[in-house]
C-alpha cells in the first residue's frame, strides 16, 4: 500500500515535467520561427543549436513576444583586471546584442568579443562579410570576432555555470541530508535515503569492488560516487524544461574525463607502467610498436569518455528538439501533435540514457583506475 501511494505522485511529477518541457520548447520555437524567415529556411537548426549551446542569460520561456530571462553576471579577466557586468547590459529591449564597456556578444557564435567603435552601434548580426577576409589581423580586431577570443579570459557565470552551481547545491543538500541519517547510528533506511542507498551500494559493490578490487576500492569511492551523481543530476537537470545542457557540453565532459585521467595516472602502479613500457609476453622487436599503441591508449581513454557523454546527451537533446520542431517546420498541426507525442517517448528514453551514461562513465572510470592500481598478479 505504501509503495503505491509514493509511486503515483512520482509518475505524476514525471509526466508533468515532460508536458512542461514540450510546452516550453514549442513556445520557444514558435517565437523563433516567428521572428523571421531566416530560421525557417535554416530548418530550425539555429533554434536547436541555441538550446544546446551555452548562453549568458537564462532563458526561461517566451510568452508571445516577451522573453522571460534571468540575466546572469559576467566576469571578464582582461589584462590583469577583473570586470563585472550583468548580461542584461549586453542586450537591448528587442533582445538584440549591443556593445557594453568595450565588449559585445557575437550573434553568430555567442562568444563574447571586443567591440569596435564602429561595430558597437550596429545591431550586431550583419558582420558576416568581414568574417572570412580579415582573419589574420591579430591586433586590429575591428570586424573580426574570431580573433578576439584569446585576448581576454571570459569567466562569466553563463547559463551552464549557473546550472553547475545549481546541481552542486542540489547534490550537497541531498547527500548531506542523507548522511545525517547514517550518523544517527544503525537504523533502517527511509525516505530519500531508501532511494539513494541501493544506488550507492550498487556503485560500491558492482562498480568499485568488481573493477578496482576488494582491497583498494575504498579510496576511490568518493570520486566514483561524486562522478556518478554529478553526471546523473546534470543529465536529468538537462531534461527539465528551460534547463541548461551542462552534461552535454564538451568543456564539462572534457573536465570530467581529465579528472579521471589524472586520477588514473597518479595511481598507476609498477605493473601498470610496466604493461605500457614493456608489455609482457611481447617479443623485443615488436615492443616499440606496442609502446606507441599503449601510449596512444592512455590518451584515447579520456577522449572516448569526453565524446561519449557529450555526444549521447547532446544527441538526445537534438533528437527531442528536432521532433518537437518538425511540426513548426512543416507547418502542420498533425505532425506537431504526433511529434509532441513522439518527443514524450524520446524524452522517456532520454531519462534512461541519462542513467545509463552516468553508469557507463563511472564504470569506465573505475575500470581505468582498476587497471592502474592492479598489482599484476594474474
Amino acid at each position: 500500500m505504501k509503495n503505491n501511494r509514493t509511486k503515483f505522485p512520482n509518475l505524476l511529477i514525471i509526466s508533468l515535467l515532460i508536458t512542461l518541457f514540450s510546452i516550453a520548447n514549442s513556445s520557444t520555437l514558435f517565437a523563433a520561427s516567428d521572428s523571421g524567415d531566416e530560421e525557417k529556411e535554416a530548418g530550425g537548426t539555429d533554434f536547436i543549436m541555441h538550446h544546446i549551446a551555452d548562453d549568458y542569460q537564462w532563458h526561461i520561456i517566451t510568452l508571445g513576444h516577451t522573453h522571460v530571462t534571468i540575466p546572469l553576471p559576467m566576469i571578464i579577466y582582461d589584462h590583469g583586471e577583473l570586470k563585472f557586468f550583468m548580461s542584461s547590459n549586453f542586450y537591448d529591449e528587442h533582445h538584440e546584442p549591443i556593445a557594453h564597456a568595450g565588449y559585445m556578444i557575437d550573434h553568430d557564435n555567442g562568444k563574447l568579443v571586443r567591440a569596435s567603435e564602429g561595430h558597437g552601434e550596429e545591431a550586431g548580426h550583419d558582420a558576416e562579410a568581414g568574417h572570412e577576409t580579415e582573419v589574420d589581423h591579430a591586433v586590429a580586431t575591428t570586424d573580426d570576432h574570431a580573433e578576439a577570443k584569446s585576448d581576454f579570459l571570459n569567466l562569466s557565470i553563463t547559463k551552464n555555470v549557473a546550472s553547475l552551481f545549481l546541481s552542486i547545491f542540489l547534490m550537497l543538500i541531498t547527500f548531506i541530508t542523507i548522511a545525517k541519517r547514517y550518523k544517527d547510528g544503525v537504523a533502517a533506511p527511509k525516505g530519500l535515503q531508501s532511494l539513494f542507498e541501493p544506488i550507492i551500494v550498487f556503485i560500491r559493490d558492482d562498480i568499485a569492488k568488481t573493477n578496482i578490487g576488494e582491497d583498494k576500492y575504498k579510496r576511490f569511492m568518493p570520486f566514483l560516487l561524486t562522478m556518478f551523481f554529478f553526471i546523473l543530476y546534470n543529465n536529468l537537470l538537462g531534461l527539465t524544461p528551460g534547463a541548461a545542457n551542462l552534461s552535454g557540453n564538451i568543456a564539462v565532459t572534457l573536465s570530467l574525463a581529465l579528472i579521471t585521467f589524472f586520477i588514473t595516472q597518479f595511481n598507476g602502479k609498477k605493473a601498470y607502467w610496466g604493461h605500457i613500457f614493456a608489455t609482457p609476453g611481447v617479443p623485443l622487436p615488436l615492443r616499440p610498436i606496442i609502446l606507441v599503441v599503449e601510449v596512444i591508449g592512455i590518451f584515447t581513454k579520456p577522449i572516448s569518455l569526453t565524446l561519449r557523454l557529450f555526444a549521447s546527451i547532446t544527441a538526445g537533446h537534438i533528437v527531442v528538439l528536432s521532433i518537437v520542431g518538425l511540426g513548426f517546420i512543416l507547418n502542420s498541426v498533425t505532425v506537431g501533435v504526433v511529434g509532441t507525442l513522439f518527443s514524450v517517448v524520446i524524452t522517456l528514453i532520454e531519462i534512461l540514457v541519462a542513467v545509463i551514461q552516468a553508469y557507463v562513465f563511472t564504470l569506465f572510470s573505475s575500470m581505468y583506475i582498476g587497471q592502474a592500481v592492479d598489482d599484476g598478479h594474474h
Partner: protein, 164 residues
C-alpha cells in the same frame, strides 16, 4: 557558442567546482554514508551470525537436555530396581526372621505349656494321692471299726503281697 570547442571559462569553473564538490561530499556525505552502510551491514551480519549461533546453541542444549533426561531416566530406573530389590530383600529377611521368631516362640510356648502341664499334672497327682489317702483313711476308719473287717482287709493285703 560552438558546441565542439570547449569553453575555457566553463572548463575552469567545472574543474574547480567538481574538485571542491568531491572534497566537500567526500568529507560530509560519502564518508558517513559509507561508514554507516558498513556499520549496518556488519551489525546485520553479526546479528545473523548470532542468531545462527543461538540456534546451534539451542540445538546443542536440547540435545544435552535429551541426554540428561535419558540419563536421569536410566538412573531412576536403576534406583527403582535397587529399591525394589532392597525391599524384597528386606521382606524376605523379615519373613525369615519372623518365621524363626515365630517358631522359637511356638517352641517356647510349647515348652512352657509342657512344663505347666507337667506341674499341673504333678499337682493333680499329689492332690489325688492326698484325696485318696484321705478317702482311704476315712474308708479305712469306717471299715476298720469292726474287727472282722480289719482282719479280712489285712488278709487281702497279705494275699496281694504274697502274690507279688
Amino acid at each position: 557558442m560552438d558546441i565542439l570547442t570547449p569553453d575555457t571559462g566553463l572548463f575552469i569553473f567545472q574543474t574547480i567546482a567538481f574538485i571542491l564538490l568531491l572534497f566537500v561530499l567526500g568529507k560530509f556525505a560519502w564518508k558517513p554514508i559509507l561508514n554507516g552502510l558498513k556499520e549496518r551491514e556488519d551489525t546485520i551480519e553479526g546479528a545473523l551470525l548470532a542468531a545462527e549461533q543461538a540456534k546451534k546453541d539451542m540445538e546443542a542444549l536440547s540435545a544435552d537436555n535429551a541426554n540428561l533426561l535419558a540419563e536421569a531416566r536410566s538412573e531412576r530406573d536403576a534406583i527403582l530396581k535397587e529399591a525394589v530389590a532392597a525391599a524384597s530383600n528386606i521382606v524376605e529377611g523379615a519373613k525369615e526372621d519372623t518365621g524363626k521368631i515365630t517358631a522359637k516362640m511356638i517352641e517356647d510356648a510349647k515348652s512352657v505349656i509342657e512344663n505347666e502341664k507337667r506341674a499341673a499334672l504333678a499337682d493333680v497327682k499329689t492332690l489325688v494321692a492326698k484325696l485318696s489317702l484321705e478317702i482311704t483313711e476315712k474308708v479305712l476308719r469306717k471299715e476298720l471299726s469292726d474287727k472282722k473287717a480289719q482282719e479280712s482287709l489285712v488278709n487281702d493285703y497279705v494275699k496281694d503281697l504274697n502274690l507279688n
